[in-house]
Symmetry: C2
Subunit: 388 residues, 2 copies
């Protein structure tokens, strides 16, 4: 099997991008990645696009083809594939592209993630954001992704003594990181008091603990690792990955304080990367809500089960802490266009490993881990990156 | 690179399946394929699902995860991937699964294609079916997939002298084949007169030349070719495939009587399979409309450019003719659930190669070709199968 490396990255600002359509978001991110890799679109063998719900958001399916066309790939009839696993669509595009190179079929591949959320009302965007949970058994009875998250939070508080202040600190830290990321949706900082006093979305979670509705795109250029240095002095190797799927409905799971899919996915990723949790220098987690970040750092074996709240409280997850997490600002502050998220996480890790994360640079970041989640934990995809 | 073989097939009846939801359609097809391969869901490494628009049709994204769950794969946290390229989603799932096995990451993989169209009104289903064409430049001004097809038909009639009778014969032949397929949506036969006198959908095309709105699912079990005989005496090798993407808007193309993406995809597939057009014993084409089948047999190099109408007129494309096409009944009679189509085409070819296509069996079918199209030809995926 051929190993795979990342040789180019690109991303748009995240936020309410009224001035751009989905195809324009795709173009901006894709062309930036091609430029970063120093290659033209004519050299590309294939495009893989992660997108959650363009069908409902802009009445357009077939967005793989659409973005390939507008990026200039259709001139050469270059094949395009769209993949979807709700909010994990971005990471899914990455590992699907990985398969295509590892198999020997393609060499130079672009991976893009994009979502245009703000062409519909906020109410409709929220409804669509919830289409990653089980519609027949959860959506129908009024559950939202945030409501399910709130149930998980209550249980984590009961089982492990996690406090509201600890959860609020996740958002405080992510906003602090976002304030240092020029492409973040939110650049304001917030205090614990701000978070706790903000309007509730689903008790106990307040709006400042929930990731926003954002537009945005991100892109990567991949190639076989053995030729990566032809294109760049600082390629980043995809050392390992893992993908697992749990029941789509939260209530059918063994334990709602652990995402079993994450545990399975990260074990596979560590095994494939021949690495252990303490080797990870920086991680991007999937903080749809504050409690997600706490549960996930535990599931990823970065901290002990039940200790996530305390680790956050001790400030260890800041970019200059012992286990830096979501240096991009995370979903909360960097922003949350579902299909773009998994790709944007990897863009941030590449920046960290290259030493290009001005103002939020983790010292000596050589190895990074990203966790991209679909639904309430039904899909988990972990990717481990390494400096070459 | 590891070669890949098909060791199990399954499909539901196509039609208006009021009694089944999408997840039930997925279960039926998937379990049938597992049973055919003689394995349990616990041995599976991954699932790949092709689906066009569950987000709009049943308000559910994340259907990869949903179907994995209901097929029983979530017990073992088996990863699931949904891919989409409009009506070519099924074949896209097949080649994505191919990558995953060829790369050495997975061994036993299930590929499923499914669509539930009849939970919305016919008008809404038609609108959704059109979301594979360019919404900003085609959909917005009222174009439908059939209207674009009608433009292609007019041009083909002008440039190559193709007649209305020749086009109607495509539907007559496909209904004749459908009448011999117990799982077909339509089992009635029709005459040329019936077709020409039927209500027009978009001049010159009548309703009897346009594929219907159907529900249905189909599934395959894949494994590395070198271990395929452990599971079955009659594995079928995926000898080659090709995937290409053209502009999403028809008007931006070089020639509307040729789908350049098909020409590119089939050249790759022939090259990979080390085969030539005359080696093909049976083909499943993507007859969204009658003219599509004529244009495609030309683009696939199965007949000379411009001669498609004449070939049909001479009866050569019947199951007992010289170049049998759409022995399943094709999209027109077998039915047209978009996400299932590409997988169902391959199921039919496997039946032919195994010699199990009762009543419509092509004598000595050793090598088959399937063409799955997305939009008005923006995505083309060709697969070539061979007896082992």
């Amino acid at each position: 099997m051929r190993e795979v490396a990342i040789i180019g990255i690109g991303d748009t600002k995240f936020g309410e991008l009224w001035e751009y359509s989905l195809r324009e978001i795709g173009i901006k991110a894709g062309l930036e990645a091609l430029e970063d890799a120093g290659i033209s679109s004519r050299s590309i063998d294939a495009l893989f696009v992660g997108n959650m719900s363009a069908g409902r958001l802009i009445s357009q399916e077939h967005v793989g083809s659409l973005i390939a066309d507008y990026i200039g790939l259709s001139k050469d009839l270059i094949p395009s594939t769209r993949v979807e696993a709700a909010e994990a669509s971005g990471a899914l595009a990455l590992i699907t592209a990985y398969f295509s190179i590892a198999s020997g079929i393609y060499d130079l591949v672009v991976v893009g993630g994009a979502e245009k959320m703000t062409d519909v009302s906020e109410e409709e965007a929220t409804r669509i954001k919830c289409s990653g949970i089980d519609q027949e058994w959860e959506g129908e009875i009024g559950a939202t992704d945030i409501a399910l998250s709130a149930i998980m939070a209550r249980r984590h508080m009961r089982d492990y003594g996690t406090t509201r202040e600890q959860m609020a600190r996740v958002a405080v830290k992510n906003h602090a990181h976002g304030s240092k990321n020029p492409k973040a949706h939110f650049k304001n900082t917030v205090t614990i008091e701000d978070v706790l006093k903000a309007p509730k979305v689903a008790d106990p979670l307040t709006v400042l603990e929930c990731a926003p509705i954002s537009d945005g795109g991100a892109a990567l250029v991949l190639c076989p690792a053995d030729i990566a240095k032809r294109f760049t002095d600082s390629p980043v190797r995809i050392a390992g990955f893992g993908h697992a799927s749990d029941t789509i409905a939260l209530g059918a799971r063994r334990d709602i304080c652990t995402m079993d899919a994450t545990v399975r996915a990260v074990k596979r990723a560590y095994h494939m990367a021949k690495t252990i949790p303490t080797d990870i220098n920086v991680a991007e987690l999937h903080d749809t809500t504050s409690i997600f970040e706490i549960i996930q750092m535990e599931d990823l074996l970065l901290v002990e089960k039940g200790s996530g709240g305390k680790v956050v409280e001790e400030g260890m997850t800041y970019f200059d802490g012992k286990i830096p997490m979501n240096t991009s600002g995370g979903l909360k502050a960097r922003g949350y266009p579902p299909g773009a998220t998994g790709v944007a996480q990897v863009v941030e890790l590449v920046r960290q490993i290259r030493g290009e994360a001005d103002g939020r640079q983790v010292p000596n970041a050589k190895r990074g881990l990203a966790l991209n989640i679909g639904g309430s934990g039904s899909t988990a995809i972990v990717t481990i990156l390494e400096a070459m």
